[in-house]
Symmetry: C2
Subunit: 335 residues, 2 copies
Amino acid sequence: MTTPKNQHSRTLRGGIDLGGTKIQAVVLDPAGKVLGSARRPTPRTGGPRNVVRELAATLSDAAKAAGTTVPELGGTGVGTPGSVDRERGTVSNARNLPGFDGAVPLASLLESEIGLSVELGNDVGVALDAEAQLGAGAGCGSFIGAWWGTGVGGGVVLHGQRWLGRGAAGEIGHTIVKKDGARCPCGLRGCLEAYAGRGAMEARARKLAARGRRTELFDLMRKKNVERLTSGVWAKALERDDRLAHKLVDRAISALATALASTVNLVDVEAIVIGGGLGSRLGQPAVDRISSEMRPRLFRPDAAPPVRLSALGDFAGATGAALLVRTRSSVGAPG
Amino acid sequence: MTTPKNQHSRTLRGGIDLGGTKIQAVVLDPAGKVLGSARRPTPRTGGPRNVVRELAATLSDAAKAAGTTVPELGGTGVGTPGSVDRERGTVSNARNLPGFDGAVPLASLLESEIGLSVELGNDVGVALDAEAQLGAGAGCGSFIGAWWGTGVGGGVVLHGQRWLGRGAAGEIGHTIVKKDGARCPCGLRGCLEAYAGRGAMEARARKLAARGRRTELFDLMRKKNVERLTSGVWAKALERDDRLAHKLVDRAISALATALASTVNLVDVEAIVIGGGLGSRLGQPAVDRISSEMRPRLFRPDAAPPVRLSALGDFAGATGAALLVRTRSSVGAPG
């Protein structure tokens, strides 16, 4: 009997989620099932060349886990932060990536490295596409995705498709929840991200700790041997009932609930999907709290849409990246 | 030479905008041009029967002004506040209309009165449709409409069509601009309408005046022989440099700019259209201020969409109501 691997040969797709801290790769079968996955840290130095080498290595690990090899894939997609020019295969403004200045020709660099065709997409955008097609948004004509991580990304899916506007739609993190409120990392005031972005939450925690507020957050961080308040650190601090951690997570949830309520009042979608590092890590209890804090802020609280946790979790971005391959390569449509 | 009126016979459409204070009727030619218009006050008593009689009389006045008669029209549309069931021809929750309790069969009541087929639509919705087809949104694939009047209504037009969501989309007035902020007439806190709705502005002015704040607003109201702070009263008070009026209009504009910025950050539309009684009355200077206060709140201020004044002004609602006829009657498509 032939192994399934050989049957699938060249109908399998690679997908890579390139983040500021980690690279996540998957290999998908034609139905969108993850056959293998791998993860590596994102290089902190060495510029695009180094990052490309790690992308290739992570994809190779995922292919191995799926019982195949990179050359046997039908192509790969990459979800990346920053502004993607899909036609040109370039990434700009990816400030979290080492040495990514100007427009980096990431697609051609990776193509030369692995000998496969490469499609680029925006990281949050492709994650949302994956949830729309295979995850918590499947079967929904419309939903709002809020990707709760270092920042708060997201988007609006209407008629089953991401609404792109003039190309820059989806900045739910820059919904102003408090006019003239807290300064956001983006420079504006009162944005959702200024209260709920993990980056802004950490900045606030550091400020309050420096003023003498007691918290275990930074001890937990050092114990985990990390330099930032990762989602895992926040989860652990909540578990240990750290008061400051609770206070800042409460504040984030309240801001998320406010921004989502405003959006529902305007576009009246069928569902809300919460993803991202912090969303996935804090999971269903946080999602339930967002839901119950959103309801009393709705114009029609009796018609509140369900708030769901991302179904694809840590694989959403890489899965969405793999789905980019479907539309442009010669690989057949999934079964 | 035959008169144009006879050529148009039965290809002309009536449109009526039924508001809480006035009824505005128009007769449109097939290209959407207003051939005649009329206005009457909305009855304060007498229930639906009285309102229907005035709708008929106003339409008759408009037909006369257009050189025709009601029986010669191809049909009429009515834009009304409240929730419209278009198939059933009923209106519910139209609290501003006298004796409109439960579901009022407005279409059949008016049909019996005038002997024409009647189509119902939501007042702000049809006004937005009119701006999309014939007004400030014509040629725009996507725009946000904010109807600034007693409340703040509006909606989002995407792919040239009003986005309805699950049926309740468009409540831009209930975008929360200040978490836990001022109480809105809808019961929520911090909504745009709590700062910018003419109703909320009047309530605030009364409260501050009762506390001893000096203002000419209520003298102007009495001079105009009205019982409420109409758009005309606000405009006059600004003209006379009334400090409280300036303060409350500034606050409203700042709230409008905030809500619109959030919406642009999320859906990245091509334009914004400002209409409604207060919007039309305060006109271009107010629109320019909304635009300049919105820009610094945008995630991409360099790509700010233009903010435009409604092109159809006081006729937007009645024109949109007339456009309802096109899609369902046997009247031919406009030339």
